[in-house]
């Protein structure tokens, strides 16, 4: 019964066999695996299977419905293209990490309960870290460390929320959450960390651009989009998501405009695009949820395409900063053409996939009469063209010729890019196959004269502004401080403050208590008897006529006797009397 086999298991078990293949056989093998998984998903029947009773929980490893299937399709389709792209790669570690990562993303999407969802969620975080580490640079190691720490934080929020939720409801089933309490909010925070929602987004532009050429392509698709899936499934109609989503769309644009590194531009544009999807989930109508799923589908394709073209440039030139790049249209025309198709698709130019998917979300806002949401999404749409649609191709392939003559990238990369570029245009011209697999039934016509004209006006004027303001957009060799400052520099500030404050208190306490007070008490307890006794005896001896050396001699004898505890009985008795008097007076 092959139709019932979990696609996640196919990729994860398949990953374990990667080391047994050598050379090109290995590359063919990793291309065939996601293709097989795609076929497997197409054969899945709606319903739940692979239910296992585990520690008192009913786990469901395979919950199939239209929502999980649409994400399953795009995850495997993108993996197929990404492995074609990485055909040149001779690194089985990266292939294994990628398969584990994609497999566990499928695990999340098909998980019917929250325990197995959490398990795959964490496997994703760990496996994806290896795609960053594989770059083998010091910078990559640092950002991989920060990446995993942030995801552990997110995972712990999710776990804490799940524990509370499961305790309250007594069920591990993962469906739309209706109660709004500590448990569900913690789950939401855990998911939003993966969705790269500000202020918990900085891990994305920090780490993805440090990944390998192919790692960046693969990473760009799965972590944020599993989060979008989880939001669609668990949090449809949560109004706070509208606010968060709108902030993300603008936030991504502003930072992408400031950015110099081409892959960091693309990383910030992921935040912008996921913002559209999160807004769609927040609106929560059938149309906008369809829009979120459709946009995730198309976004994965054109974003992978953009990362591929940026990856080709990095692969051929070894450079990724706009200040080092320019004029590449002369030697990399195909990379330029495919990259530009991706750039047009992300900008929702009519006849590309972005146009047919994003319109669902924006029209979803219109149907709910959400004026401000609609306005922000339109502004953000114009801004996308600015930062991703024009800025990326312009500064990399045109602008000032920096004398780089790398030549066209290798064939497998071009084939993969050509395949995705075809999909971008195909889904833009003929969106019906996509609309048919969306979670809810679609009655929508993206191509009306008004809609196309409005979009063309928005975009062409946006392009005009870009070139009019070109001087202001000139690239500089700078980075922009983002919220990762708090754990990168903030950590040092924290250390400094703690060093000065706590160690200061420590030093003060040492001086006053350990050295001062303890010494004082020590001296008192050692010399106390002598001081008290002599304090009484010296006046007595003086009165009885002892003077000068004689008195001195008596004092010395008494002191020695007291310190060694061999005082004559008389003196001992006198001392005891003195103490009794003191005690009596004090009490």
């Amino acid at each position: 019964m092959i139709g019932d086999f979990p696609p996640a298991a196919l990729l994860i078990l398949g990953a374990l066999l990667v080391p047994f293949f050598k050379g090109n056989a290995r590359n063919w093998y990793v291309i065939i695996l996601p293709a097989l998984a795609f076929y497997l998903i197409s054969q899945l029947q709606p319903g739940s299977s692979w239910q296992i009773h585990f520690f008192g929980f009913d786990l469901t490893f395979l919950r199939v419905d239209k929502l999980s299937k649409v994400f399953g399709y795009i995850f495997t389709l993108n993996a197929f293209a990404a492995f074609i792209y990485s055909f040149y790669l001779k690194d089985s570690t990266q292939h294994m990490a990628a398969l584990f990562y994609i497999g566990s993303a499928l695990g999340v999407v098909f998980a019917g309960d929250m325990v197995s969802l959490y398990f795959f969620w964490e496997v994703m975080a760990v496996a994806s870290t290896f795609l960053i580490l594989a770059r083998k640079t010091e910078k990559a190691q640092g950002s991989a460390m920060r990446y995993i720490l942030v995801h552990i934080f997110g995972g712990l929020c999710l776990l804490a929320g799940l524990v509370i939720y499961i305790n309250q409801t007594g069920s591990v089933d993962f469906n739309a959450m209706t109660d709004r309490n500590l448990g569900t909010y913690l789950i939401l925070i855990g998911i939003l960390v993966n969705a790269a929602a500000p202020p918990m987004h900085a891990w994305l532009p920090d780490s993805y651009p440090e990944a390998t050429v192919t790692g960046g392509v693969i990473l760009s698709a799965y972590t944020t989009k599993t989060a979008v899936y989880t939001l669609i499934r668990g949090f449809p109609g949560w109004e706070i998501l509208i606010v968060i989503g709108c902030c993300m769309t603008i936030y991504g644009i502003i930072y992408a405009l400031l950015e110099n590194d081409m892959r960091r531009i693309l990383a910030y544009s992921i935040i912008n695009q996921v913002g559209f999807m999160v807004t769609g989930v927040g609106i929560g109508t059938m149309m906008s949820l369809n829009g979120a799923a459709a946009h995730a589908f198309c976004h994965i394709i054109y974003k992978a395409l953009l990362w591929m073209s940026a990856g080709s440039v990095l692969y051929m030139t070894g450079k990724s900063k706009c200040t080092d790049l320019g004029g590449l249209y002369k030697t990399m025309p195909w990379t330029l053409i495919f990259g530009t198709i991706g750039a047009l698709a992300i900008s929702s130019v009519p006849a590309t996939s972005g146009f047919t998917s994003k319109s669902l979300i924006i029209d979803g806002a219109i149907h709910e009469h959400l004026f401000w949401v609609w306005l922000i999404l339109e502004i953000a749409s114009a801004g996308v063209f600015l930062h991703a649609g024009i800025k990326f191709p312009y500064f990399v392939f045109f602008a000032k010729d920096k004398g780089l003559r790398p030549g066209e990238t290798n064939k497998s990369m071009l084939i993969a890019m050509g395949f995705l570029a075809f999909l971008c245009i195909f889904l833009g011209v003929y969106p019906k196959p996509l609309y048919d697999i969306l979670p809810y039934e679609v009655h929508y016509q993206a191509y009306t004269i008004n809609h196309v004209v409005a979009q063309l006006q928005l975009l062409s004027l946006s392009a005009l502004v870009f070139f009019l303001f070109l001087k202001l957009l000139k690239r500089t060799e700078t980075i922009s401080i983002d919220t990762d400052w708090f754990y990168r520099k903030g950590g040092r500030l924290f250390y400094y403050l703690m060093d000065k404050s706590l160690n200061g208190i420590n030093r003060f306490a040492n001086r006053v208590l350990a050295e001062g007070l303890a010494g004082f008490v020590g001296r008192i307890s050692r010399r106390g008897p002598e001081i008290f006794t002599l304090g009484v005896l010296i006046p007595l001896w003086s009165v009885s006529g002892s003077k000068g050396e004689k008195l001195q001699g008596k004092i010395e004898t008494a002191r020695a006797a007291l310190q060694t505890g061999t005082a004559p009985v008389g003196i001992g008795a006198a001392l005891a009397t003195v103490f009794l008097v003191i005690i009596f007076l004090l009490t």
């Binding site: 502003i254 339109e378 114009a382 801004g383 004027l461 005009l464 060799e477």
Partner: protein
């Protein structure tokens, strides 16, 4: 022997001038249909003549200027975190 001349069409000043003209023409062309079609307005403002052109222009200009402004605070040297 001289090498084959490189394809440098987009570096030539006359090309750039042509592209500027093309850009202006496209911008005007997109506004022309507003004379003939009566756009259904959902919120009122979106029915106005050339609304989306104006929105595109203003929002992009504001986004760029705002990012320039915020850059004064946020931009720093590339080795900032290595120091």
């Amino acid at each position: 022997m001289k090498q084959k001349k490189e394809f440098d069409y987009f570096d030539r000043p006359e090309t750039i001038k042509k592209l500027w003209i093309l850009l202006y023409v496209v911008c005007v062309l997109t506004i022309v249909p507003d004379f003939f079609t009566d756009r259904h307005a959902y919120f009122g403002v979106d029915g106005y003549f050339g609304f989306f052109a104006l929105l595109g222009f203003i929002s992009c200009a504001v986004l760029i200027l705002f990012s320039k402004l915020i850059a004064l605070v946020l931009k720093t040297k590339e080795d900032y975190y290595d120091r």
